[in-house]
């Protein structure tokens, strides 16, 4: 009468050890770190149970003692990089603080290009996520709006950061396993875009396409978008 749990489970609610039996050889942090190492070096698709187990030097199935499903491994990974957020002392300038938080999130995503792909699709209430949320709320203390509005602002900011980073990073991640470079891929896609625009079927798009001179400064675009968003929540500007 064993049977696996036919009921959902949050990995964070499961204690790391239960006291009985041999001492576990690894901690959750060990496993997360190994998976992150692999994902950073070889891409998210290289993160397989076998590969992670090999990195740790244990049998594949032993991993399942720590992580009931692979998806939980993903949750460990996201939580692990969440620890890279610097939870600085709020300065009292909520705009500056939130900008700093957003820039940091963006930096983390560029350090770990697989994060955006995992972020959408995760419920995201891991310990480090909660800590970061609390930190953001602390930064927003000076902002005089209801708490609900604050969490909405945080969600919106995070969403925008993720969106921008994901779009920018997607090509990098995709070309990782391809025999051609990111630049080649972009060139081909841009060439197609150019050919389509040249048909005249998209006049306004063509105009926008022509207007821009030189490559887009994504960093600047990103910062502008953030400023706009903060404006929209700034009571001093309405």
């Amino acid at each position: 009468m064993a049977g696996r749990a036919a009921v959902p489970e949050v990995i964070w609610a499961r204690p790391e050890r239960t006291g009985r039996g041999p001492k576990p050889a690894f901690t959750r942090a060990d496993i997360a770190a190994a998976a992150v190492r692999i994902a950073d070096a070889e891409g998210l698709d290289a993160v397989s149970m076998r590969h992670v187990a090999a990195e740790l030097g244990c049998g594949t199935m032993s991993l399942y003692n720590y992580v009931p499903r692979k998806e939980d491994l993903y949750e460990l990974m996201v939580d692990a990089v969440g620890a890279e957020h610097e939870l600085f002392e709020p300065t009292g300038d909520w705009r500056a603080d939130m900008l700093r938080n957003a820039e940091e999130t963006r930096a983390i995503m560029y350090r770990h290009t697989w994060v955006p792909r995992l972020m959408s699709g995760l419920f995201g209430f891991s310990p480090n996520t909660l800590r970061y949320l609390e930190h953001c709320l602390a930064c927003l203390e000076p902002l005089d709006v209801p708490a609900g509005t604050k969490t909405e602002l945080i969600a919106l900011l995070n969403g925008v950061v993720t969106t921008y980073a994901a779009n920018d990073i997607a090509t990098i991640e995709r070309t990782r396993s391809m025999p051609w470079s990111e630049e080649e891929e972009n060139a081909v896609r841009m060439a197609y875009l150019g050919s389509q625009v040249a048909t005249g079927a998209y006049p306004r798009l063509a105009a926008a396409f022509m207007e821009q001179s030189g490559p887009v400064d994504l960093e600047a675009v990103f910062r502008r978008a953030l400023e706009r968003l903060l404006d929209a929540y700034d009571p001093g500007l309405r």
Copy 2:
């Protein structure tokens, strides 16, 4: 001296047929429709080359005559649902028009819950995407800002729609292959969140948690976020 193309390729740049040899048994639209049907009914993970081929009634490897890589199949799928956008005549009220566009995008994602997962990670210049982009630019004609700012706004709106829908939809998609329901999963996760908040480690989060009475109206939150975003780009409000 055959060898596969060692150079990137955009599926949309490849012609549907080349004239020589037997007539293809299917069109790209057939294949996309079959894949969409499977994804809608059984989830994105059920979309395998074998499954799609079976749905079409042909051998697995025959698919590769139409679609060089599985990722291209994904692009076909995204483009196919992109056709569901109603390209209405702009009313002159750019805010209302863009709201309508966003709501429609959201509706499409709820109809095809696998779309968000594919959206992030795709470069996204398929024919229907281009058409939709052009349509948005048409809606933004009355807005007196540079074309670059308009595309930024469109990107931002789409990003936010995707993010919000993704978060909301993730649980549905995830529980599809699980032996428990979406509600059960959500309940377990909320219980964990509550237990964490109750530890007192996250006072501000706790306050925000307590403040809300009853379940969150995601639709309303979404609409508020959109309004804020539009505010951020509305010259009349600055």
